[in-house]
């Protein structure tokens, strides 16, 4: 066995040991530290395998029998696992300390990481499906452990129900692949014919898409992610969703044996719907974690747009751009994992310090909590797609890919790509609105409650976790050109010849010299600030037409999103209720409640549930409880089987 295999095994063992240690009384911090060390070892092994393009351990096999191994694509996702898990576990050391069920939560966190690493490294169908199921069930258990009120239980129930309904797609796809010996072998499925290929493509899209939170299969995500403890929300949004995309990439890109155009167009459509829908509903949320969960749907959509563009390029035979689009999607996978983890951890720190996640009850935290606030400000700017941070680089690449699809395609595909490009631009603008709201309401201005005025930064471990993630947003934004060639090299069509510069110099674009843009903007800002000088007149109150700008004039989350809500009224369909209290002909008070129902909440699943219940009611008539009826059923079964055997229908 190679050294890297030993390193990864040591990582797995350390995480496992960390679980056991954390479950022991009084060993919470030591256990989480051991888990973090294990995650770091896994990340180092994954990164080295990715960079060197090696293959460690078993190859993919369609036979039954556990097999584990790491190839460069798994290496990338292990690296993402490490850069998400390391800060999260460091954060959890202080965050979980002194909480109820801390030991159990810490052990489940480690098990969750093991199941995620298992999905990424499994090389056979049994190991993959087993880890896949564990990956779904462990967070459900952890959420139930941390809180058991009605809302939480209902969220967990819908999470488990919906992901299992959709998860059936994963089972079908994987088992059909294994049946044709096509796991790791694209030629096998190509030989099986287009019918089987279509079946695998569609079921994988439904199965992995449900877990990745693609609209319209997403409705569990904005319910389940916010109810988990902060560090688990970070892992679920930052990592679990990415692991689902890993499965999608494996099946649709590596094992399908074909790149049908309809698949590329379907992914473009799903990506567009998820990106726009996710961010639009994020804009109208006022609970921070719910907002972040919706924004996860948006980012899954952006990644799917990149993947769809890559498939369309591959179909057209343009391997260079197919690889660039594929690399862009993977780059956004890494970037979103980093800033979404940062934002969820920040939300955890804010909840701990200010006792609320309602944006209308926060404010002024940047001054009180400079570490948390500063990191969250950087994360917000990165996720809003502002240069020179990391989010812009990957969104720029995805947008370039979409435009280049339009440059060289037949009419239908070209129009679809143009529409997707326009939708992505609108998504970016909505993300800016959304995260300007987050930064503005939580971090800037005046505290809206006394608890915010007294909030304090968390202990050093939690601060360091957030600061390191913020630093990574900056670094990846400064040197996207060093990362892209490696990621584009993972494309199934082969690696394009891309020069390794810090900036992105791609033929067909006007180039994005990221370091130069960063230096220019930062140095000019400093210069202009210096030129502005420190001379200023006495501070004055904010202008509010002459009246004192008191609390009742304070702007709210709903107010900031109101223009968008009014304009897109037909899409968002908000409920409004205004109750006017009168006594003696005088208005005593006005109570306003308004909310936007969740995105396509009942559209897909409610008919399914109703249909399921109706079928169950019918089926109950069969269960009469009468022994003779059951004997008749058996007789009918045996007779029909005999008849089938007689006609040779059973082979």
């Amino acid at each position: 066995m190679s050294a890297l295999a030993w390193v990864s095994l040591a990582g797995i063992a350390a995480i496992g040991g960390g679980c056991a240690l954390a479950a022991a009384p009084g060993r919470l911090r030591a256990g989480l530290t051991l888990q973090a060390c294990g995650a770091a070892l896994l990340g180092v092994a994954g990164l080295l395998i990715l960079v060197r393009g090696e293959q460690v351990g078993a190859h993919f096999t369609s036979t039954v029998g556990l097999a584990f191994g790491i190839d460069p694509l798994s290496g990338l996702f292990l690296t993402v696992l490490a850069i998400t898990a390391l800060p999260t576990l460091t954060f959890a050391r202080d965050h979980l300390h002194g909480r109820p069920h801390a030991a159990g939560l810490a052990a489940l966190t480690g098990l969750f990481l093991l199941s995620l690493a298992g999905v990424i490294t499994a090389r056979d169908v049994i190991g993959f499906l087993a880890c896949w199921e564990l990956m779904t069930l462990i967070p459900a258990a952890a959420i139930l452990l941390s809180g058991r009120d009605r809302k939480v239980r209902s969220a967990v129930y819908s999470y488990v129900a919906i992901t299992h309904l959709g998860g059936a797609g994963v089972w079908i796809a994987m088992l059909v692949l294994a049946q044709h010996g096509a796991i790791g072998d694209p030629s096998a499925l190509a030989a099986a014919g287009t019918g089987v290929q279509t079946l695998v493509a569609v079921t994988a899209l439904i199965g992995f898409g449900t877990k990745a939170g693609l609209v319209p299969l997403h409705s569990w995500l904005p319910r389940a992610h916010p109810v988990a403890p902060a560090h688990l929300s970070a892992l679920m949004s930052g990592l679990m969703v990415k692991v689902a995309l890993y499965g999608l990439i494996r099946v649709e890109f590596q094992w399908l044996g074909a790149t049908p155009r309809w698949l590329g167009l379907t992914m473009l459509a799903l990506g567009l719907l998820s990106a726009l829908g996710g961010i639009l509903w994020a804009v109208v949320q006022r609970q921070l974690k719910q907002l972040l969960a919706y924004s996860t749907i948006e980012n899954t959509g952006i990644i799917t747009l990149g993947l769809g563009a890559s498939l369309l390029f591959a179909h057209a035979g343009d391997t260079t751009w197919a690889a660039i689009a594929f690399g862009a999607a993977l780059f956004h996978v890494a970037n979103h994992a980093i800033f979404k983890t940062l934002l969820f951890l920040g939300a955890g720190a804010i909840e701990r310090a200010a006792g609320s996640l309602d944006l209308d009850e926060l404010g002024g935290l940047l001054r009180r909590m400079p570490w948390t606030g500063g990191a969250m400000l950087i994360g917000s700017m990165a996720i809003a797609g502002l240069p020179p941070l990391s989010g812009f680089a990957s969104e720029w690449l995805v947008l370039q890919s979409l435009l280049h699809v339009a440059f060289s395609s037949p009419l239908g595909v070209g129009l679809a790509a143009a529409t997707a490009a326009a939708a992505l631009a609108a998504t970016a603008a909505l993300a800016l609105l959304c995260f300007a709201k987050v930064a503005g309401m939580a971090l800037l201005g005046q505290p809206r409650r006394p608890e915010c005025a007294a909030a304090e930064d968390p202990p050093a471990g939690m601060r360091g976790a957030m600061a390191s993630l913020a630093l990574m947003c900056g670094l990846l934004g400064l040197a996207p050109g060093l990362v892209l060639p490696t990621l584009a090299g993972l494309a199934p069509g082969g690696a394009p010849a891309l020069a390794r510069h810090a900036g992105l110099f791609i033929p067909g674009t006007g180039s994005y010299p990221a370091p130069a843009v960063a230096v220019a903007i930062l140095s000019l800002t400093c210069l202009l600030s210096a030129a502005r000088g420190r001379r200023r007149a006495a501070p004055s109150p904010v202008w509010a037409c002459g009246q004192p700008a008191g609390e009742d004039l304070r702007w709210t989350s709903a107010g900031f999103a109101k223009p968008v809500q009014l304009v897109l009224d037909a899409v968002l369909r908000p409920h409004r209720e205004v109750a006017v209290e009168r006594s003696g002909g005088l208005v005593q008070g006005v109570v306003y409640t308004g909310e936007v129902p969740s995105l396509l909440a009942g559209a897909l699943y409610e008919p399914t549930v109703r249909g399921g219940l109706r079928v169950a009611a019918r089926a109950r008539r069969l269960q009469s409880g009468n022994v003779r009826t059951y004997a008749a059923y058996l007789l009918v079964l045996v007779l029909s089987l005999l008849a089938l055997v007689h006609w040779g229908a059973l082979g």
């Binding site: 720029w396 947008l399 326009a422 609105l433 300007a436 201005g445 674009t509 010299p513 501070p539 223009p563």
Partner: protein
């Protein structure tokens, strides 16, 4: 040649305030007033530079850094946009989509500054600005796509070269793109019927709203940034969607003529057209998107030109 192009880009930093000045003068003449000299914005900048800044009570870093950040981003944008179709040597590349990203930073900075001061008028205006930007950004990307289709590249010099000459105007696609870009120009320069740059009635402001609390050098930087926005988009219009010749000296002459024409056209629109209701702006921009998309469809189908 590259030296001349770079010099022209740097000149843009100083020439930018001339554009809103010319528009104001032109508008006054059209309305039968004598109006101010086109140099009035320079006088205003000089006056503001000599005055003290005022920070409202309780504001912090986000409020104070915003004007410098906004002006820095506009400087970067000026360095990205090639003048008369020639890329300069300022090292920020010349990609149209990078320009879109750089222009998004000022919006975020001003929205953050509005939250920091907590001023209701500033927040009302920046919420509207961000809402309009959702549609404007889609329209901007589509009009970039239409100009990039003949060039097969999003590099602005290549797009400008592909849009030169009379041939591109023979098909409908370029006309659709020009129409879409005209709407973008109205939005981004904050002109009527979408926004009224002259209004100081708090309830109707869009671009002026977040500037309400600023004074002195802060305000000077923001006023310059608004003028720089005119420069960036008018030069971009001359590069992509106004008739121009391929050669550099000739293209410079076309640029001057085009900029003058755009200034007069903006003044005409402002004179003839009242400000529209804010909630109708998305419908207008959405119509623009539909036109741009059909233009793209016509081009891809091969009827474009």
């Amino acid at each position: 040649m590259s030296f001349a192009a770079t010099a022209l880009q740097i000149a843009g930093v100083f020439l930018a305030p001339l554009l809103p000045g010319c528009i104001q003068t032109c508008k006054a003449r059209l309305q039968g007033r004598r109006g101010t000299s086109p140099l009035q914005p320079y006088r205003m900048l000089a006056r503001l530079w000599g005055k003290s800044s005022v920070d409202p009570e309780g504001t912090g870093l986000a409020y104070r850094a915003a004007p410098a950040l906004v002006a820095a981003c506009m400087l970067a944008a000026i360095a990205i946009v090639p003048v008369a179709g020639r890329a300069g040597a300022l090292g920020l590349g010349s990609d149209a989509l990078v320009l879109v990203g750089v222009l998004a930073i000022p919006r975020f900075a001003l929205a953050a500054a509005s939250w920091d001061s907590g001023s209701g008028f500033a927040l009302m205006a920046s919420a509207r600005d961000l809402m309009i930007a959702v549609f404007a950004e889609a329209l901007l990307v589509l009009s970039i796509l239409l100009a990039a289709l003949p060039a097969h590249s999003t590099a602005l010099p290549a797009m400008s070269a592909a849009a030169s000459g009379a041939q591109v105007w023979s098909g409908p696609a370029h006309w659709c793109g020009a129409l879409a870009f005209a709407l973008v120009l109205l939005v981004e320069t904050g002109r009527q019927p979408i926004d009224n740059p002259d209004t100081h009635l708090e309830l109707t402001m869009v671009h002026e709203g977040p500037l309400l609390e600023y004074a002195g050098r802060d305000l000077a930087m923001l006023v310059w940034a608004a003028a720089a926005r005119h420069w960036v988009f008018i030069v971009l219009a001359a590069d992509l969607y106004l008739p121009h010749a391929g050669g550099f000296p000739a293209a410079t002459a076309w640029l001057i003529a085009g900029a003058a024409a755009v200034c007069v056209a903006l003044a005409l629109v402002e004179t003839a057209q009242a400000k529209m209701r804010i909630l109708q702006v998305p419908a207008l921009l959405g119509a623009g998107c539909a036109i741009a998309l059909s233009g793209a469809g016509l081009w891809i189908a091969g009827i474009g030109g």
